[in-house]
């Protein structure tokens, strides 16, 4: 054991000596490895970052909430076909679910539009205006930081009141307290009754850039022929499939879908996005693996090439070492270690570069990046595989040199 450690340590020292003698060449040789490993590390860091922001983000979509509308999130059905389906309405679908779905804890029909909002001289464009009812607080899991949410009375009497998102409050009202003031949505006045806590993003949608108003007033002002999504929170998380079956039955009945026809509506849930996301990241991983592998193979061949040159250049040295007692495996180990050291230099630069690139991308785009020990482990594994695999042939060639011929080599 001690012997192996001494051998390894000596090998590493010899490798560094040899590499110091040709610094530039070593550095250039590692370029392929740097590119390969940094690509893998970068994409891995970004995917991990994406995962974290994705799962925090879709947690805004409760896992026990169903989103019922004409369109499926999975878009397996033809969009044109789905567009021509009967609209969801408050009086028919929303009412039926509210009345008959025993597994629904809360039912909130929602409808959205984008409008500019204004207070005094401050205007904020493209704010998401959401028309809904008092149960939206439960289905979408939002709580006001100040004030209150819509009440049943607000909704029933179509009061001109609104609950504003954190960003709307911040940007339009700055340091003023918005509660009790009137916000102009388009050209209509709404009394502010609540401010939501900060919620972040949902798949690129800014959840803080919104204003919630009673659905009745929404339809009166912006028209009632808009696509409605009915959000349903089930009574307990475990029964989501049963709830879907129950709602499917109710909707087929009220929408008069003939038994031989397929559903002309879609019941969506968080899982579907997660599934889709998983498929996307798998594709990204495959891409990273592809690009990384190619770069690593190219880099590995570069290392092999340089090592072969090095073996030829150092034929005499190999002869001397063999003459004074180096066994074939000593020479083999020496060149394998050299290969591993070169690969490791490239790999370490690559790992660092990968993290730096990932952070740069995270800083300059909406993507995020997380440095994880797993990324480093992946880098180290690649270093070992590439270093060993591409070092093997030059090392074998060096080990098999005939000591007499090697000594004679000039």
């Amino acid at each position: 054991m001690m012997r192996i450690l001494i051998d390894l340590w000596e090998g590493i020292k010899i490798a560094f000596q040899a590499l110091r003698a040709s610094k530039m060449r070593t550095l250039l040789t590692t370029l392929g490895i740097v590119i390969g490993i940094s690509t893998v590390i970068m994409i891995h860091s970004i995917i991990i970052g994406l995962n974290q922001s994705f799962y925090t983000s879709i947690s805004a979509l409760g896992s026990d909430t169903l989103y019922i509308g004409k369109f499926s999130w999975m878009s397996r059905t033809d969009w044109i076909e789905a567009r021509n389906r009967k609209d969801m309405t408050l009086k028919r679908e929303a009412k039926a679910i509210k009345e008959y779905a025993t597994l629904a804890k809360a039912v909130a029909p929602t409808v959205t539009a984008q409008r500019a909002v204004k207070y005094e001289s401050e205007t904020l464009k493209d704010v998401n205006i959401i028309g809904t009812n008092d149960e939206y607080a439960i289905t979408s899991n939002v709580v006001p930081e100040f004030g209150r949410m819509l009440s049943k009375q607000d909704v029933d009497h179509r009061r001109n009141v609104c609950v504003i998102g954190w960003e709307v409050s911040d940007k339009v009202f700055k340091n003023k307290n918005p509660l009790g003031r009137d916000l102009l949505i388009g050209s209509h006045r709404f009394r502010i009754i609540g401010i939501l806590e900060k919620r972040g993003n949902l798949l690129g949608n800014n959840l803080d850039n919104q204003v919630i108003i009673p659905i009745g007033i929404f339809q009166k002002l912006y028209g009632s022929r808009r696509w409605i999504t009915i959000e349903v929170k089930v009574t307990e998380p475990g029964i989501i499939e049963e709830a879907k079956d129950e709602i499917t039955g109710i909707l087929r009945r009220v929408r008069k879908v003939a038994p031989q026809h397929e559903n002309d509506f879609a019941i969506n849930q968080q899982d579907m996005i997660a599934d889709m996301y998983k498929r996307l990241t798998t594709a990204l991983y495959a891409f990273a693996f592809g690009v990384g592998s190619i770069a690593l193979i190219v880099g590995g061949i570069g290392i092999m090439n340089i090592l072969l040159v090095s073996v030829t250049e150092r034929t005499k040295e190999i002869g001397i070492r063999k003459a004074i007692g180096a066994r074939n495996k000593d020479i083999m180990l020496q060149f394998l270690i050299e290969s591993l050291v070169v690969t490791a230099i490239g790999g370490i630069i690559g790992i660092i570069a990968g993290f730096v690139f990932a952070k740069i991308i995270a800083a300059s785009t909406f993507l995020s990046a997380t440095i994880s020990p797993v990324s480093i482990a992946i880098g180290v594994i690649f270093i070992f595989i590439v270093g060993t695999f591409f070092g093997l042939f030059p090392a074998y060639k060096a080990a098999k040199l005939d000591p007499i011929e090697a000594l004679r080599y000039e």
Binding site: M2, R3, I6, D7, W9, E10, Q17, A18, A21, K316, E317, G319, I320, R321, K322, A323, I324, G325, A326, R327, N328, K329, D330, P403, I404, L407
Partner: protein
């Protein structure tokens, strides 16, 4: 008996022709002998030296080193014999150019697993013995020819080998420096080492006690002085 050669032959295949570099050599060398192998080029003395030094194996015949049958050994076993039993001194010194004198002398001990601290001490002692105590951290290109050959001799000594095999050790040195090197060999012989010189210079060979002359792959003469 330290070395026994029994009808050693070395035959090279050159194209379709067989060339007998050694055509049946038998000889015995005792411990603490000091001998020279001489002969013109093409006489087979290099081949003989390579086989003596376990760098090469004979085509046929029996080579025993300390009663061990060398002619049957594999690469690793030969490497081990070279490492522990034989110290080489070459005409062109054959030092590692990038390594310091100390590291060059340490080298044989790296291959038998001597720990670093012990190695450094032995190597430093060996350099002291050849009068290079003040040149340890010099690289070969910072040393004169004579100094380089002293480093090589120090390297040959560190594993306490049974024989020192020197191939034209003064061939690249001027006469005066050559004499200095020969003095070192003489001292080593007096200290009990077995030394085999390969040379084509009569005045070098005359330092030894026994001269073996080769011609055309055969032993021409074996004379004790």
């Amino acid at each position: 008996m330290l070395i026994e050669f029994e009808d050693i032959k070395k035959i090279y295949q050159v194209g379709t022709e067989e060339v007998g570099a050694l055509q049946g050599i038998s000889l015995k060398i005792d411990e603490n002998e000091y001998l020279a192998i001489m002969g013109p080029s093409g006489s087979g003395k290099s081949t003989l030296m390579n086989i003596l030094g376990c760098l090469d194996t004979p085509t046929s015949g029996i080579y025993k080193f300390s009663n061990e049958l060398v002619s049957d050994m594999n690469d690793d076993q030969l490497a081990e014999i070279r490492n522990r039993q034989i110290g080489f001194v070459f005409q062109t010194f054959n030092l590692l150019p990038r390594a310091t004198a100390l590291h060059n002398v340490e080298l044989p001990m790296i291959y038998n697993g001597t720990p670093s601290s012990k190695r450094k001490k032995i190597a430093a002692d060996a350099l002291e013995r050849v009068g290079l105590g003040d040149r340890m951290s010099h690289r070969p290109n910072e040393l004169s020819g004579g100094q380089r050959q002293r480093v090589a001799i120090a390297r040959a000594l560190v594993n306490k080998p049974k024989i020192i095999l020197a191939d034209e050790p003064t061939g690249n040195l001027d006469t005066r420096t050559g004499e200095e090197i020969m003095e070192i060999f003489e001292q080593l012989h007096e200290q009990g080492n077995t030394i085999i010189l390969v040379t084509h210079e009569e005045y070098i060979a005359e330092h030894t006690n026994r001269i073996i002359r080769l011609r055309d792959g055969k032993m021409e003469r074996d004379e004790s002085l």
